[in-house]
């Protein structure tokens, strides 16, 4: 399986994306902002279709759209980020705009499938270069802000009193989420960003590990699920996104079941 260039590229891309999605998702789930990240991926979809229309790469549009939406969401604060209705509205309008752009595109069908459900086997070496850059930037950013972000997440009032800039962190974090979302969509598609972003992180958070161990474990589990999905799809001919989604759901349920049994 590793004899093929596109498979080696796929494994590398999955590594780069999983290492970012795990830890970013860990904070996302802890902060209760998973729905916000879902909306970001949909705004990214509108951005990607818009970029295709202009003849740009979809990754540029995805990252640009999600980043703009993430920063705006962070600036608006709890007025938007914490409100289901507002996020739902943003999400549906973005999807609608994406649908319009797709309609205006001539080669819409294949582009739509790749954007919505991912196309990990179609990742080009050039795109891989971009993923390296984005992943390195994301991990560096998260490494710098992890400590105050953890404090601000667990004890916002105390953190504010100690001089932690809450709103700046909120904006920076949502910007990180936006970039991670754009990366993740390359593998799982915008509709299934949850599978790598939220499922491994939520599974790990159930374990009650210490923060640093949890961040590491989330990266590890995301990587295992992404590679597992690739391998399973190689042997079964089912889409990679399907297997990653299934593994994510199964992992979450299994950990829950194991805890139930142990609690008895």
């Amino acid at each position: 399986m590793l004899d093929y260039d596109f498979m080696r590229t796929a494994f590398l891309a999955a590594l780069l994306v999983a290492l970012v999605c795990g830890p970013v998702g860990w904070f996302l789930v802890l902060r209760g902002q998973t729905f916000a990240s879902h909306a970001l991926s949909h705004v990214g979809f509108a951005g990607a279709t818009g970029a295709l229309m202009l003849g740009l790469s979809p990754l540029t549009g995805l990252a640009g759209g999600a980043l703009a939406a993430g920063i705006l969401m962070g600036l608006a604060g709890d007025r938007v980020a914490g409100r289901d209705v507002m996020i739902g509205l943003v999400l549906s309008v973005a999807m609608g705009v994406g649908a319009l752009f797709l309609h205006l595109l001539t080669r819409s069908a294949s582009a739509a499938t790749a954007l919505l459900f991912g196309d990990i086997l179609g990742i080009s070496p050039g795109m891989l270069g971009w993923l390296v850059l984005l992943s390195a930037g994301c991990l560096l950013g998260l490494g710098i802000m992890a400590r105050p972000l953890l404090f601000a997440t667990l004890q916002p009032e105390m953190a504010e009193a100690k001089g932690v800039p809450l709103q700046l962190l909120d904006v920076l974090f949502l910007a990180l989420v936006a970039i991670a979302t754009a990366e993740c969509a390359q593998i799982t598609g915008v509709l299934l960003v949850f599978t790598l972003m939220v499922a491994p992180a939520a599974t790990v958070l159930r374990l009650g590990l210490s923060p640093l161990a949890g961040l590491g474990a989330a990266a590890g589990l995301a990587l295992a699920e992404a590679w597992g999905g690739l391998i399973l799809s190689w042997y079964t001919d089912c889409p990679t996104s399907f297997w990653i989604a299934l593994l994510g759901g199964a992992g979450f349920l299994l950990v829950g079941l194991a805890q139930r049994l142990r609690a008895r």
Binding site: R147, P148, L150, F151, L154, A159, P211
Partner: protein, 276 residues
């Protein structure tokens, strides 16, 4: 009014301070000085300005006018020697152990990874020991009682070794037996470390006998003094500008407003006029 309480150096000094919240003046032209090491109960009804005063002392909201000093320095946000314990609210990260929860506040304002090092881990252990919470260290926070979670919060405020502690309604969600225990614990800690403590409360009784001074807030004004000076019919009637009776019965103190309601409690909770 200015109240100078003793000759020891002042920990907190307000001069002619006016504080507003949402454009409405909450406290007007307050001047007071609290000596280092004093244990102060901050009393007043909801909306009297207890939280606003704390926010101002933390540098989170600037004063409309006047000057505020802590340990001789102007109030500033993120002051290391000021510890703040907010009211308990919805728990986030309940799956973490007590140790991880407390550690998250250790130099939480610094950039970088939440990596604590040997000295940091020792500091967390010491803070847990100071509130007798070693046995909570390895348990998930979600499995702890309100009183136990509060001990963790208190441990977090001790991490920076503060000289001033601001405690916002630490008794609010505790049952009566835990209230007295909590006040005694904080009092012992404050004595041992010579900390100045401002603790807001709805009921004066759990604090009786332990606090050095009362800071009573009402109608935009503040009255600071010993319990015997402040909690009197005359002093409180003057502060409220309306007849208020102080009744002592069974070793407890009740502040009763004209019409029978309690002056401190919210008036919509019928039966709780039994507390001051």
């Amino acid at each position: 009014m200015t109240a100078v309480l003793s000759s020891s150096p002042d920990s907190i000094r307000l001069h002619d301070v006016t504080l507003a919240r949402g454009g409405r003046v909450v406290l007007s032209q307050i001047s007071l000085a609290i000596p280092q090491g004093s244990f102060v109960g901050v009393l007043g009804a909801n909306g009297a300005g207890k939280t606003t005063l704390f926010h101002a002392l933390l540098g989170l909201e600037p004063a409309v006018q006047g000057s505020m000093q802590i340990n001789g320095q102007p109030v500033q946000r993120g002051h290391r020697s000021v510890g703040y314990m907010p009211q308990m609210r919805k728990l986030i990260g309940g799956q973490f152990t007590g140790w991880s929860m407390v550690a998250s506040a250790l130099h939480g304002q610094r950039w970088g990874l939440p990596w604590y090092g040997r000295a940091g881990r020792a500091a967390v252990d010491a803070a847990l020991a100071a509130v007798d919470a070693q046995d909570l260290a390895q348990r998930p926070v979600a499995a702890l009682s309100g009183g136990e979670r509060q001990r963790l919060l208190l441990a977090q405020t001790l991490l920076d070794d503060p000289s001033v502690l601001l405690l916002d309604e630490p008794l609010a969600s505790l049952d009566p037996a835990r209230m007295r225990e909590t006040v005694e614990r904080i009092h012992t800690l404050a004595r041992a470390r010579n900390m100045t403590v401002l603790m807001s409360a709805h009921d004066i009784n759990p604090l009786l006998g332990l606090m050095d001074h009362v800071l009573y807030l009402a109608r935009g004004r503040a009255l600071l003094g010993t319990v015997d000076e402040v909690i009197t019919t005359k002093a409180l009637t003057a502060l409220y500008g309306a007849p208020v009776d102080v009744v002592r019965a069974g070793g407890r103190v009740f502040v009763v407003a004209e019409g029978g309601g309690s002056a401190l409690q919210e008036h919509d909770c019928g039966g709780c006029g039994a507390h001051a």
